[in-house]
Amino acid sequence: MQASDADLWVRSRAGDADAFGLLFERHAKPIYNYCFRRIGDRESAREMLQVVFLEAWRRRNKELPPDKVLPWLYGIATNVLRNQRRSERRFAATLRRLPAAQVEPDFADSAAEHLDYERQAQTAMSRLRALPKREQDVFVLCVAMELPYDDAAFALGVPIGTVRSRLSSARARLRELDSASGHEQGDSTNVQEAHQP
């Protein structure tokens, strides 16, 4: 009998840290990956993961529609990453008090693989930096994280039409950049984007 996100959020809003811990277990992986894909560093992504959930806890008075806990967390993550230094300052004392994260030892193959992934994420983000920040947000949410448009709209606090137009604009810009640099034309990603309405 698994509690729904909505139930866990209601309990979190009432100060139930255990319920919030369950939400963390449920959504840590996508938020961690979102942070990783935008930062390109595993350890920093883990710190950002903590900051995102600390910020969510701080804002737990927020009333959320039943299926929007994860999109809301993506929204917080987007803001936290955009204002990374400010967010870290806000929680500096708290982060200092946290027990140090123990990093599980990497075997050689896996360490090399992780380095490759970090390079891959950094390369992807360096290309996306050619886009305005608001288009970067939409592109990573909808394409890299395969968020449905309505969830991306909720996360960013914009109408769904704005998500569509920003994504379209981002793709057009990337095509132009490809064209200018002599790259082939094509889709804007190697990640299969979920079918969107």
Binding site: G15, D16, A17, F20, G21, R58, Q102, S188
Partner: protein
């Protein structure tokens, strides 16, 4: 597919890493526990009991059975207080003095022990606050068999759930202990889960109304609230449970 933007595959957090990150988070957001002796000096023992759950949430960990995803009902927060991250805590409960007033604010009928008056009134949700949806009630009682906290709240648990908790509580049970004793006994035809923890104290739980809207009742005798609280025998605790059950609770 000829695109030059290639994101890395989704990375996994191992179960160990996930657990560690969760513990790190909870260590940051959980209020530090003020020793009951200090708390009692600050507030006075009566205030400690009267404030009941409301005070407890601001200074102590919410108590939860970790097994089977079970948790106690949400606890209220104290007006004007701030949480460990500096966030303002919004009051979620109000104290009423009669069962009728409580019933008016709850989605179920409140049942209290007969011939007993709660020391700090009956805590019920404030309409529109998050706890209002499931409805919950708490009240603290002083008795010859120790001080105990009564909680009632809507729950989708069943007798089978209680038995599952009983089986799971042998490891990692309430209060962080790992050597709890558990049993499910029958009191006036109702299955009652009895959990005794050397750290926490004694908890009784049962479900009434197996239909659409079951209600969970809990009786908690905490060893530390008040300090050196009396923990009654199972028989004495079950006598109080039986009294509530016979009234329909």
């Amino acid at each position: 597919m000829t695109d030059r933007i290639s994101f890395p595959p989704l990375l996994d957090l191992s179960p160990g890493e996930l657990q560690m990150e969760r513990e790190r988070l909870l260590s940051a957001i959980t209020p530090r526990v003020m020793p009951p002796s200090v708390l009692a000096r600050v507030l006075g023992r009566r205030a400690l009991l009267a404030g009941g759950v409301a005070v407890a949430v601001a200074v102590a960990l919410p108590i939860a059975l970790e097994n089977g995803g079970h948790h106690s009902p949400p606890r209220s927060s104290v007006p004007g207080r701030r949480g460990p991250l500096g966030e303002k805590l919004v009051p979620t409960s109000v104290s009423v003095s009669t069962v009728e007033e409580a019933d008016a604010r709850l989605p179920f009928k409140a049942v209290l022990p007969s011939d007993a008056t709660p020391t700090g009134g009956i805590q019920v949700p404030i309409a529109g606050q998050p706890t209002d949806a499931s409805g919950w009630l708490t009240a603290t009682f002083d008795s010859a068999d120790g001080s105990y906290l009564l909680s009632q709240y809507s729950s989708d648990a069943t007798v089978a759930t209680l038995q599952q908790w009983a089986a799971g509580s042998a490891e990692g049970c309430i209060g962080g202990a790992n050597n709890c004793t558990t049993e499910v006994v029958t009191e006036d035809g109702v299955h009652v889960l009895v959990v005794e923890s050397p750290v926490f104290g004694l908890r009784l739980q049962w479900i009434r109304g197996d239909g659409a809207s079951p209600v969970m009742t809990e009786l908690d005798w905490r060893r530390d609230m008040p300090a050196n609280n009396v923990i009654p025998s199972h028989e004495a605790a079950l006598a109080i449970a039986g009294d509530i059950i016979r009234q329909g609770g």
